[in-house]
Amino acid sequence: MTNATKNRLIDKAFLIFGILATLFGIVILCIFIGNIFADGISRLSFDFLDNLPSRKPEKAGILTAWTGTLWILGLTTLVAFPLGVGAGIYLEEYAKKGWLSNILEINIANLAGVPSIIYGLLGLEIFVRIMGLGGSLLAGSFTLSLLILPIIIVSTREAIKAVPKSIKEAAFALGATKWQTIWSQILPASMGGILTGVILSISRAIGETAPLIVVGALAYVPFVAKSPMDEFTVLPIQIFNWVSRPQHGFIVNAAAAILILLSITFVMNGIAVYLRNRWQKKVKW
């Protein structure tokens, strides 16, 4: 066997190994989803989506949980999107290299790695106590906004970096000010990437349990929230609560709720992938 054919064999072997490793991940994912699907699918119905919580598993529904999740999703986007994009623009376009931008950068890198439970402790003190928001939707979404801010900032910067320099230069050369250039050219061109990052980070936020529990999301909320100051529950908390109940019926409910939560995550990831691909195509100037 010549060396070249030996090397080729190794190459082929790794190829197969690589495919297996990739499939391993996918297979585990399928097992998960399959398991949950088998448990929960029988429980999925319109009633399940439309019912209030109840002590009887077959009567319990997730109306308040999924509406709460949607509220959180909306409010968190509203808060985190402008802040994160603003900070991203500042760091990428304005900040001069120096100690200040270094501090900002280190700091953001750090925040991205702070465990979510610590954000919960932070939200409890700042938003619930000091700002007096109580266990409201607003306090919850502020907390989650801080949690995902670093991710949005980083992806905004990546997206802005990907805008061809030539576009920026063209605008400058026509006498556009910095902000005019950013607003009229850079942001429209990078919006795909920015949105992708925002959606991915928000889809992480809606799966979070621990910080919201600490902030004071409730387990039993028998009404749909009408304002940001209302108290709330979300799907992961409902799931967590059901999973720790003795009755088997609740485990089934939890599986069904996980299915709903996963489909929200999937839909959001799908949108993100779609945007990313569309935007990658468009970006060939």
Binding site: L52, P53, S54, R55, G134, G135, I213, G216, A217, L218, A219, Y220, V221, P222, F223, E231, N241, V243, S244, R245, P246, Q247, H248, I251
Partner: protein
């Protein structure tokens, strides 16, 4: 059923919000009551959280909630803070939570266990010393014993140590703890040499996976049932669980109605969700206590 309907016509005018938080042990009862209360006073928004007894009291002493679900009595430090913040409160017991002692169904040697034996197993000195079944009773197998129990931060754990070892929080540390009782169910049901304890409700729902052990407190082996717990013969492994109501909240009509409704219906509800109701007389005592509390706090206005 009938009384509920009557109430409906009487009290539809009530509105407002009642915020409840606290122990996850009491949560199923409170949640069920709140659910029934919806039929009585649909305009009253009742929310229930599960921050734990301690977490609930943290909010209670700041007057952030109206009612706290508690699986233990208020601690001195917490009572003090209430005082500081000018909060008067009342403690109402609402049901019993029986603690079941459990082993794996494949375990064919244990039928009952004495309080002394439990103490011998769980006391701090047992750590690293009592490691085998036959150290407890010589006829039991010479296999390692695997212990399971609720997390040390839970009221259930506090109660168990108090009742068995004699001092709250005093126990061996080398046992498997979890805040989630389903996890304990899983642990015991997959381990032939396991021994554990947790709330009776979890046993009721998992009878096929677990084997209940009778507890012998000197007067023979007793299994926890409605009767044995209610009549006190399953001592000491049953404890009362409470709700705490603050005076400020109790002044509010919707809270007063809710608490009365709670005491009225808790007997049937607790049975339904796997807890053991208080005897009739005891419930009546709680009702009276609450009435005089509201009257008292109204007069001190």
């Amino acid at each position: 059923q009938k009384s509920t309907e009557e109430n409906t016509t009487e009290e539809t005018t009530l509105s407002g919000q009642i915020q409840i938080d606290g122990s996850s042990t009491v949560y199923p009862i409170t949640e069920a009551i709140a659910e029934e209360f919806r039929a009585v006073a649909p305009e009253v928004k009742v929310t229930v959280g599960v921050s734990g007894t301690g977490g609930g009291f943290k909010k209670f002493v700041r007057n952030e909630i109206d009612i706290n679900d508690a699986s233990r009595s208020i601690k001195d430090s917490e009572a003090e803070q209430c005082k500081e913040n000018g909060i008067n409160y009342i403690e109402l017991s609402v049901a019993y939570d029986g603690l079941a002692v459990l082993v794996n169904p494949q375990n064919d040697w244990v039928a009952d266990i004495t309080i002394e034996e439990l103490k011998k197993i769980w006391e701090p000195a047992a750590q690293g010393a009592i490691m085998k079944w036959n150290q407890i009773r010589p006829e039991w197998p010479a296999e390692e014993i695997h212990l399971f129990g609720p997390g040390v931060a839970s009221g259930t754990y506090d109660y168990f140590t108090e009742a068995i070892v004699g001092e709250s929080g005093a126990s061996r540390g080398d046992y498997t703890a979890s805040e989630d009782d389903n996890v304990l169910v899983q642990g015991i049901s997959s381990d032939k040499f396991a021994l554990g304890f947790f709330g009776l409700a979890y046993y009721e729902e998992n009878k096929d996976k677990l084997k209940l052990v009778g507890v012998n407190n000197g007067s023979g082996s007793v299994l926890p049932t409605m009767e044995t717990v209610a009549n006190g013969s399953y001592a000491p492994l049953s404890r009362p669980i409470f709700i705490y109501v603050s005076n400020k909240s109790a002044k509010r009509e919707e809270v007063k109605t809710f608490v009365n409704f709670y005491l009225e219906n808790v007997t049937s509800i607790s049975e339904e969700v796997g807890y053991i109701p208080l005897p009739e007389a005891e419930i009546n005592k709680q009702k009276e206590k609450f009435n005089s509390f509201t009257a008292g706090s109204n007069s001190t206005k």
